[in-house]
């Protein structure tokens, strides 16, 4: 089942097209990353999915429910953690949780259980009497996530959870997201940190209000480069021999009696061994061969500047 099905979303602010024909299909049970630099239209997109902003055109369904028609049903199964801390700073940790428990319609016993559970899970037990405004940045973020999870949502939407957050907490959040995924929660997360996006099952790259590419992190990279990259160190100068193989030579660097080559192949894990064997069949000695790990960041830049898309 599709957790989110957004079709052809457009949002115009005055003369500025913040979102320009975005279509997103998020399968249930995945961590879906919405990536892109600031101003790419990520927040606007998720705000439309949540019904916080009315799209100029396009339709959005969450678990088959139309957000425009029946927003309150959508809200009951959706948790939202906004980019900026948006709970009441003049209420305590526990008071904030109790307020939202009531708003989500939890009964007395559920409220008690759930609050205890979440205070424990998010290490907030000893701060439950503290005003939310007096919490540290990290504690605020944890409280914010805890409140988003009070009503056990099937879909969790998180806007830039790691902006301005220190590395241990970033790691903590991603571990949490994976844990939630195991419990069956679908997660839509926006971020502009490309390295974090490796944690996502699928990602959509946004740029200037459009989806530039969509797929698993691996697919995105292959899309950007036209395949995987393998690096080899071989004896001699087998430039001519390499032309006979299925690989495309990206880079060739002769260094004494050895050469270092970078090859482009459709799939590194499939091609690495056969390619090695093939070269050895041509009597080229392969000293080392390994896949090169590419960063999403480079892939993103290639995709959005138009370098890789055509190839």
């Amino acid at each position: 089942m599709l957790a989110i099905e957004a079709v052809n979303l457009v949002k115009v602010f005055g003369s500025f097209k913040a979102v320009d024909g975005v279509t997103l299909k998020v399968e249930e049970g995945v961590i879906f990353g919405l990536l892109g630099p600031n101003g790419a239209g990520k927040s606007t997109t998720i705000r439309m999915i949540l019904g916080l902003l009315k799209p100029t055109s396009g339709s959005i369904k969450v678990f088959g429910i139309d957000v425009e028609d029946d927003r309150s049903s959508v809200l009951k199964i959706t948790g939202y953690m906004p980019q900026h801390f948006s709970l009441y700073e003049d209420l305590t940790v526990e008071e904030n949780m109790r307020l939202y428990a009531s708003l989500y319609g939890l009964n007395g016993r559920e409220t008690e259980e759930r609050i205890l559970e979440l205070l424990d899970e998010f290490m907030l037990k000893e701060f439950k009497g503290r005003l939310a405004g007096k919490l540290s940045g990290g504690m605020k973020q944890r409280l914010s996530l805890a409140v988003a999870l009070l009503h056990r949502p099937r879909l969790l939407i998180v806007d830039e959870p790691t902006a301005g957050v220190d590395p241990p907490l970033r790691r903590y959040f991603w571990e949490k997201f994976r844990e939630l995924k195991k419990r069956g929660v679908t997660i839509l997360v926006t971020t502009h940190y490309m390295d974090e996006a490796e944690n996502c099952d699928r990602i959509a790259l946004m740029s200037k209000g459009k989806v530039a590419a969509e797929g698993s992190p691996l697919e995105i990279k292959r899309l950007a480069y036209g395949g995987d990259i393998i690096e080899m160190v071989v004896a001699g100068n087998p430039r001519e021999v390499l032309k006979e193989t299925a690989a495309k030579v990206l880079d060739f660097e002769e260094n004494g009696s050895y050469s270092r080559v970078r090859l482009l192949v459709p799939d590194a894990s499939e091609y690495l061994i056969p390619l090695t064997r093939e070269l050895e069949a041509y009597n080229v000695k392969v000293v080392r061969a390994y896949p090169v790990s590419l960063s999403l960041e480079e892939a993103f830049i290639r995709l959005t500047t138009g370098d890789g898309v055509s190839s």
Binding site: R47, L50, G51, L52, L53, K54, S72, L75, K76, T78, Y80, P82, H84, F85, S86, L87, Y88, E89, Y100, L103, Y104, G105, V147
Partner: protein
Amino acid sequence: MMGALVALMIKDIKQLLRDPRSLLMVLLMPPAVMAMFVSGYGEERSEVPIIVVNLDEGAISWQLIELLRSSGSFKIVAYAPTMEAGIDLVRRGEAYAALIIPEGFSESVMKGYSTKIVTVLDAAYAMISELVWQAAVIMVQVFMKTASEMYGTFYIEVVRQTVYGPEVRSVDSFTSTILGVLLHLVPMSLIAVSISRERERKTFEQLIMAPVSGWQIVMGKFIAYALVTITDMVAVFGFAVYVLGVRVSGPPTVLILVSILLLLCSLSLGLLISAISRNQLQAYQAAIFFFIPSMLFSGFFMPVELLSPSTRAFGRVLPLYHFLRAFRNVQLRGWGFRDIVPECLSLLFETLIFLAAAIRLLKLRVD
């Protein structure tokens, strides 16, 4: 040094110009208030409604009445047959004063005796009473001067009587005014910033992600603010009556009821402002902007009857108008609950209208 000053000045002008709603309010306020003031007060002074009781049989009394009628100061709304009937009309608030011309007035004038006319003033409206009194004295002087040319010398004494008197102290007559400010402007501006503050602090964004409805948000705030401000209001009221010794002729419970109704009306109006304002500053300005005409046209300074007809109609829909009328009638005239039911219903009705509009106009979005 001057470069920095100019740069800062330009920045501030730009910021002002880029918040058109606030700017509009700031720039519009002075001319709008002046226009309102002129339309309400600038025309020829309206006439004070009075009652005339003519017990005299002769013709000379009618000359005096004609002089009063054409003076531009008075509007004779009724002629009462007896002194009691005239005083009763004043008591019921039909006019601010009754002028009583005694039996044998014409005869006394013709014979050159001294006679009198009695002005019965409504002490509950001290300012108007004073106005009527002064005008009556002047008119009688004018009449003596012109009439003496025809009838020879005589003397008319103007006798002063009051209903709801004898004298109303300033503190008594200002109680309603002060309470009007406290119960209208203060709660209105307090609650007006409440929703826009949530928008500014982003808590609104989280709040509307929970399955809540607009009416729950509006009524939640309404009831919370009502509970807190009613407590405060009762304390202010108690302080005025028991510590300052403000005179209360009618039942205090009715005064408290009227005050609570105004308070609720102010809160609902404030919520309406809050629902449509984008930020706290705008909401605050709008509350003050609304309060100014309220102050000018609700009987705060001058009874509504003395304003020009168009402004009078406007004044009669203001919550403060209903409050001041009901409150003064109970406090100074000693009226009871039954007498002020129409004002109470008006306040209640307006409260419901404002609340419904606030709920209707509150957008659960963050545009």
